[in-house]
Amino acid sequence: MVDRLAMSPTATLAVGARTPTADIYAPQWRNFIFVAPFLFFFTTLLLFPLLWGMWLSFHKADTFSSGNFVGFGNYVRLYHDKVFLQSIWNTFYFVLLTVPTLALIGLFLALCLNRRTRTAAVLRTLFFSSSVLSVTIVTLIWRIVFIPNVGLLSTIYGWFGATAPAFISDPNLAMVGIAIATIWWCIGLPMMLFLSALQQIPQDIYEAAALDNANRWQTLRSITLPSIKRTFILVIIIQIVLQFQLFGQAWLMTRGGPNNLTKPIVLYIYDTAFRRWDLGLGAAASEILFILILIAAMAQYLVTRSRGDQA
């Protein structure tokens, strides 16, 4: 077996004149069988619905019929719909609250926990553990933290004779409450991405810096941070794409209220398409969301691509 493996490049060269390798890698229709099962589901349940959704967004449709062609009517309705415009603003506000915080806390944790001690390993496990929970459990936990009377927060404030801020019912704080629960839920991924970036920095650079008597702050600023700049951008983009799709936390914690102030785009889509059954309008709103996410995904593609070029 070993001989044969070692021989095979030479063997290939020797028989190269008859080009059998060219034969086995020549395009053949029967090879298509391997990708056909996946492509069937991919086409029918992803590509086709994607196009069907675009088509629907130009129609006044309900559950069973595709209805009448209305041109850009649905988009015009969205443009004049105060709730939709509010939901776009809410989504951006939520992204602004969560993404920078996630990136900075994630980076901080990664810098602190990038060691080979047992404590660091336990803490890494702890900070990632919330990521495996479902949105239902996370929101249940945080509602019980924020709820008046028996809530953890109000109990702690009670010890000091103070009243806890109403993170769910106060219009100014509701989105902050959702953001806190989300940060708690999602902090594991940025931390892990930063950790794997930190571990790829060659150790000899640090040894050289130590010989030069560089202090910790100098090492951090001139070696560590520049080396993970690309990861930082990547984490920001990944989190933008993820947090743009906010739905479960808002739906389960506040139902979008008070006054639609915590209603994100996806919740608007859910409300429009699956509770008021205005599928055309819902489809149009999801196309807007699709375009916004596509822009972020393109940015991610460009960042990963340029890293590939450097390597």
């Binding site: 095979s8 992803l46 702890l126 028996v150």
Partner: protein
């Protein structure tokens, strides 16, 4: 001599500050969970009278007994197992076959098709939900297991992952067998598939976890209580905290649903972290 001593002292102070910050963050991570566990062990009436009663006895398992005895939680767990298990199995089969096809074999239009599949990675679920829901209404797939499982099979991530993995296996391994005219399926099954087990584990755990925690599609597709998955079912009971069962009951349900997945996480941590990070970076 004094300068290094000062810097070591400064370093120690900085270390303590960082340690304090990390500890504070750990408390923020743990405290809510401990609070939930505490509430789940208390009688509802006592809790309502004084939330501080969490910190002292008597504790009771009554809420857990009610969870197991009266709620539909077992049906939902069963549904979640069927959906997540079915989706994981299907994804592993489809992705391995397609990954081998894209990485090792050639057929007309292969590269164009692969680019289209890659494009699928950028399509968010919400962009296809409305149309998918309408199609499934016409096929009468809602409130069935195929309705809950099938959409997940169209996700391209597994194909992408397996293609990368097959490409990383040295070509010499199967080239000899190909020159010997062994059938492609045989090479795939006997030579290459055993080598992809680590990737299968990663993809399998990632798919299972994603399906287990999925909320949006089950919410709109499974509208009948006996077809709820665990996430949807639990969400349906927690809409109103003031209901008769009480907060302790809801908390017991949360612990009941969350504990198994956390235990699985502790065992398969390495694979889960690899899978989730890998899926994010692509």
């Amino acid at each position: 001599m004094s300068a290094p001593a000062a810097s070591i002292k400064g370093r120690a102070f900085g270390d303590h500050l960082l340690l304090a910050l990390v500890l504070l963050l750990s408390i923020v991570m743990i405290a809510p969970v401990l609070w939930v566990i505490g509430l789940s062990l208390k009688d509802n009436a006592e809790l309502m009278a004084d939330p501080n009663s969490v910190f002292h006895a008597p504790y009771t398992l009554k809420n857990y007994i009610n969870t197991v005895g009266t709620s539909s939680v077992f049906i939902w767990v069963r549904n979640s197992i069927i959906v997540s298990g079915g989706l994981t199995l299907g994804t592993l089969i489809l992705s391995s076959l397609a990954g081998y096809g894209f990485a090792r074999l050639n057929f007309p239009g292969r590269d164009v098709l692969f680019v289209i599949v890659l494009f699928g990675l950028a399509v968010p679920e919400q962009a296809v939900l409305v149309a998918r829901h309408q199609i499934f209404s016409m096929l009468k797939f809602h409130n069935t297991f195929q309705g809950l499982i099938l959409p997940g099979l169209s996700a391209p991530f597994g194909v992408f992952l397996m293609t990368q993995y097959f490409k990383a296996i040295p070509k010499e391994l199967d080239e000899a067998a190909m020159l010997d005219n062994a059938s492609r399926l045989r090479i795939f099954w006997k030579v290459l598939l055993p080598l992809t087990l680590p990737a299968q584990a990663t993809l399998g755990i990632f798919t299972f976890l994603g399906a287990w925690n999925d909320y949006f599609w089950p919410l709109i597709s499974a509208t009948r209580k006996d077809m709820f998955t665990l996430t949807v079912g639990m969400a349906s009971t927690q809409t109103n905290f003031a209901q008769s069962e009480g907060i302790g009951f809801l908390m017991a349900q949360a612990v009941f649903a969350g504990a198994p997945i956390l235990i699985v996480y502790l065992f398969f941590q390495k694979y889960i972290v690899t899978a989730v990070s890998g899926a994010a970076v692509r």
